[in-house]
Symmetry: C2
Subunit: 195 residues, 2 copies
Amino acid sequence: MARTQGSHSDITGPRIREAALRLFARQGYAAVSMRQIAAEVGVQAGALYNYIPDKQSLLFGLMKGHLDELLAARAAVVPADNAVDRLEEFTRFHIRFHHDRPDAVFIAYMELRNLTPENFARIESLRRQYENELEDILRQGVTEGVFDVPDTKVATMALIAMLTGVNTWFREGGRLSLPEVETIYWTMVRKSVAR
Amino acid sequence: MARTQGSHSDITGPRIREAALRLFARQGYAAVSMRQIAAEVGVQAGALYNYIPDKQSLLFGLMKGHLDELLAARAAVVPADNAVDRLEEFTRFHIRFHHDRPDAVFIAYMELRNLTPENFARIESLRRQYENELEDILRQGVTEGVFDVPDTKVATMALIAMLTGVNTWFREGGRLSLPEVETIYWTMVRKSVAR
DNA sequence: GTTTTATCTGAACGTATGTTCAGTTACCGT
DNA sequence: ACGGTAACTGAACATACGTTCAGATAAAAC
């Protein structure tokens, strides 16, 4: 089962996930066939079932993997001591992280309805963990007296939607670079919660 | 063909669109079959083709109808003379209009990839018209000297994403009423563009 | 060099898809 | 009452789907 040397299949599993990620993002989970994914990998459809139990698990694995990565990347950040700096860091982190994974982000938001109820609950729980990081920052700022936020829960949802929205319009090579976009969004975020 | 009195079919067309709207929003365009839609209407699948040429046109018609309604509702608004009042009106309008049509909003954002290139271009053009209304307001405020916005195009996308995001979390009967949510968002919008 | 094991093919399974259409039904105007 | 017509059924079309599996293939283990 597990091999000590790098043989073919050690690379086939990830290749299936990459192909599925790209195709699901472009055409949607329901519109992509197992045969399409297999063709992208250069294999017959039946061979996929040596790596995944079924199509559903493939989708769930992609979503779970994305959110695990997101939370791991957050956990690696050493938080600043004041709320303003923490919020700036979060803003720039969110934009950059989501910019680097447009397909996974798209899938994680759009294909929730194709999950079984249990899998849906697991994904939503991970997402809530991430959102709670932002809400903690906002609450800290309110406590510190540097933020004036009418409702930290609503503000959290508002800011996350705003930041994630960058993915819908930003294109490499356009009028603005990503760092410039980060700065513009940070300006708006900062002012929206300022005293 | 056209009948003067209200006969059965005058009501069947809208009923097909309503059923398709609901099902597309819940399961996605690709995952909904014509037989499912027909069953919802209480008819056999073949009968649908007395009202629509094909499944694609049904999707496009729903999206186009939604955006036409949106632009018509905007056109009916008498704009205030100052940018701040116009922006508040836009904010509350956007939240309320989108809140009243969650299914149509969901479809109009998520099923763009299932449109042919020409149809996609037509829908995007309508959406851009709506976005331009907001950008005009922001530019007016900058000219008046009451707004301080680093980039009106980026601010437009940021604010629209933020406002549309209400649909992803707001549920009737929750902690907050819709007017309360409107006010919270207006506070954040106002501050984010303030001088 | 032979056995063992992981991997893949190619065909098959039952079921579902969008769309068409000849034929039936039900209602309309007269 | 009756002819005309709009609306609908039910079956059929070709094609595609996710998944399974016996058998072929290739690589690793001894």
